[in-house]
Amino acid sequence: MIDTFSLLLTHGLIFLACWRLLGRDDLDREETGASIDFLGRRRSPPADERTTPGA
């Protein structure tokens, strides 16, 4: 009974958290301007891909 409650609670929350990630653009990209690549060069994303970071 306790095991089931704990499993349902935590697994429900893990699933809900991942579900909420689906609607968040800042999961994969958050730069408002350009980023710097591994050689230190500045990379600017196209304007239509620019998104604002999450709260």
Binding site: T10, I14, F15, L21, R24, L27, D28, P53, A55
Partner: protein, 452 residues
Amino acid sequence: MRDLFFIVFLAGMFGLGLKRPFILVLVYSYIDIVSPQRLSYYLLNSIPISLLAFAAALGGWLVLDDKADCRFSRRQGIMLLLLLYCGYTTLHADFPVEAMAKWDWVWKALLFAIFLPLTLRTKLRIEALALVMVLCAGTIIITGGIKTALGGGGYGSLNLMVDNNSGLYEGSIISTVAIAIIPLILHLANHGTIFPPSRWVRLFAYGFCGACLLIPIGTEARTGLVCAVILAGMMWWHTRRRMLYAGLGALALLIAIPFLPSSFTERMDTISEYQADESASTRIQVWMWTLDYVRHNPLGGGFDDYLANSFTYQTVQKTETADSVKVERITVTDRGRAFHSSYFEMLGEQGIPGLMLWLTLNLGTLVQSARLYRRYRDTANAQYRWVAPFALAMAQGHIIYMIGSLFVGIAYQPFIFMMIALQIGATTYMRRRQREEDWRPIIAGGAVQTAR
């Protein structure tokens, strides 16, 4: 029924991962921490879900993820060296069969920890991993906490859903981990964006922290109590109203003591009486044996080389009668006693080079957390207000781990490697953000590109 539940849950998670590949990384973290295959009875045992999840996470990152922001930090390099060195000692192990069995899970834990920071490119990913990690540990901790509250605890007898007490399901390990994640739980409750701060979030977080504190009581693991006291001290130091919290803490302790099971208070009394405790005196013997072993084998003996130890020692036993206390010295012979300390585990198994690498990794994690904390403690930028509390939570959790490690053999614990990977992810992420903000075009061409 439980099998079906796990299959539906995992299918759902893999389904979400198809939409957002980073979720596959979270799925592997979940499988590594919770081990659902050990909680299920038949179905999941027959599928190599851990391998499937790792292949999916790695494949998703290789094919679909943006790798421009990836950085390979020094600490990932140290973990890679440690992995290679563990491979070397496994090939030359004193107990090749046992060493191979341990190597089988250690290399996966290290490889995943090396890979994980490469995927932590955004703040939300860092938060998501931290959240999933604490909720996964919560699967074991909430069960244990409720059972302890209902009087189901006891040394070695608290049922944490599985009979097999390995991994996080072992009493001393879960006690240390439960205390180490408290600062992270509180941080997520105060600064989370997936579950933003609300009355319900705080209620759950406080209940969760309560369950974490009950775990050392339920498992009667003395290490957990030591960790809890140190964490309380660290958290108290960072509060604004120290006198008020000191008073409240003392009051809470006074109220709680009568409710503690007598077996718990009796066991905790033995912290200072190590001579009368076989478990504690054996540890000291094992540690002395390890030092002697390393003197002759400075490169280590490979995984599980403690199996070679054997020693005879005397312990004191007190027998109380109605009007007297009889003190007896008993001779005990022990063979193959585990290290009961991560430091000695590393020293014995991986020798001086392994211990140096492991210490550098752990101390480096502490130093980097402290640096992040100091740098962003007084930041005026609202975007970075989460950084200092996060760094502080990571530092406090890591200090607890390193103190717990004195008495528990958790040097290769996958959960801890994930915590280190999380910290590396946060450090490299903030370093990158800082570089982006500090960047100024030197020539006109650069300015044109920025303005594009």
